[in-house]
Symmetry: C2
Subunit: 345 residues, 2 copies
Amino acid sequence: MPEVPEPTISWDQESGTIRFIDQTLLPERYKVVTCRTVKRLIRAISRLEVRGAPALGVAGGMGVALAAVKSRTTGRDALLREVEKAAGDIAATRPTAVNLSWGVNRVLTRIREAADPGEARRIAVEEAVAMAEEDQATCMRIGDNGIELIPDGAAILTHCNAGALACTEWGTALGVVRSAARAGRRVQVIACETRPLFQGSRLTAWELSRDGIDVTVIPDGSAAFLMRKGGISLVLVGADRITRDAVFNKIGTYMHAVCARHHGIPFYVAAPRSSFDPGLSEEGVTIEERGRSEVSRCGGRTLVPDDAGVWNPAFDATPLSLVSAIITEEGVLRPPYRFGGGKPT
Amino acid sequence: MPEVPEPTISWDQESGTIRFIDQTLLPERYKVVTCRTVKRLIRAISRLEVRGAPALGVAGGMGVALAAVKSRTTGRDALLREVEKAAGDIAATRPTAVNLSWGVNRVLTRIREAADPGEARRIAVEEAVAMAEEDQATCMRIGDNGIELIPDGAAILTHCNAGALACTEWGTALGVVRSAARAGRRVQVIACETRPLFQGSRLTAWELSRDGIDVTVIPDGSAAFLMRKGGISLVLVGADRITRDAVFNKIGTYMHAVCARHHGIPFYVAAPRSSFDPGLSEEGVTIEERGRSEVSRCGGRTLVPDDAGVWNPAFDATPLSLVSAIITEEGVLRPPYRFGGGKPT
């Protein structure tokens, strides 16, 4: 593992490839992958080697740039057709996080403006790299904006990983934790392990303990009881998509929101504006259902007998009525939320 | 696996030993262990080879009988001292389920009445075997008493395993499911996998699918979202101890109770009277905290980095105010509950 952590995902200018940390291997192994083809990137997104809404936005943009750079086509229209095909394939890989298609479309739009393939390749890479840089700056602003919500001595419950590994650096929910710690607040993070893929225990615990921030892993089902015992000051999570009425985030988030409300504990969401999708409401979003084996097997063990069914949704929806505030790069939004559905934003 | 399932735990008259199904190996392997010493039984209870409140009651009683039968002592007082030492060791193995010490004390009391070691051994075995038979009859009565709470077509959420494997046969919560199915009700069980030890996915799913009852495993954190989507008719769980103000059960139970209340879904507990401990209130009960490795490792994988903490309580407490009814062998209790604290039982 390098002394100075490298970004979760980045563009290698020299080789014209994407570099990313393979998140399926943590915490047992730290491995940086050099990704040379769109096909390999799609596999990485599908297998969650790269995951987290903001990182998926950057991955989408870099994937379109990669398609442009690697194309051997010399005609402008032929290049555009190739890149559009790749863009569609990338965006379809995971349906719930809005950032993926947002990132894809952002670079695709710039490519369409180019006069020739050479210019298309140049501005595609420029745009993708700019997106990664903006993501870092956005996370830093989200972090700083969130400090006001974190009291000194706070015990912060989080779910899944909305950290540096979900973005390029710093993180959204964990960006707020990092900013608060840097500002001198004493903080303690309770990381729900996040079944079935353990992003909380594997990724959140890894990146926070690496930064010297106090972190304790708990099974997802014990969070409510810890709230009852007075061990949680606030809940702070990320988001994969925020519609005009609900926050879509990792399965289990809704349970924490309901239990936080029951105990009078604030429930905060930290997310960039690129995760907002005010044109949609809850029922308009497809929740990705993932394979049986994520639940039925772990390591070398079989956990579910073959005759039993498995339900494995990757996300759930938390109505905005349960959300105490949303921390964005533009500031902290509080109810009543007015960012969509024809209402003033 | 035998065609006719054998009891979860039983006394082998011929060899004077205890037989039990090793529940740590399911669903991958079905293995019946012959237990010849108290030391081996304590290991089995500690490792959860035998678990579940009613089964622990029977195990406690049979363990005391085993101590008496295996003792080489010829004097009455010396035997009593040996058996009392064994009884204390067995009862101390797990602190939360009241049934364990209840079972231990029941056989110990009978041994104290005996005139000589021969009689002590005989009545200890008689009492332990009677406890197992009573447990089966109790579960059948709990099951039949609960039928009235199960509407036709019910989708029943359960947590952990309160089934045949938690008792000698039939089960408490799953006993109600079995009785309802036998009475012609169409039922579907949603089994929460129950981290960290997966008793829901490994045991509940195994025993229900073996019986031909429709069962689907979900991660614990997805239960609340399934309630929101209208996929749960009622919650039905067992209990390890019922004090005058709270139900102690597997960690995660409290979260389901809070979420059921939020969604207006009934939350039922099924338990024998031997799980009731009305002399105590919530704060008087020790909640067992188990080892880090149950959370940090699974199937050869390391899930939590070494620098991060782990909190692993085995149980939580659900206040009776969240419990819609308690199904016992004597009938269905409804609020306001009056079984302790000086109030009429």
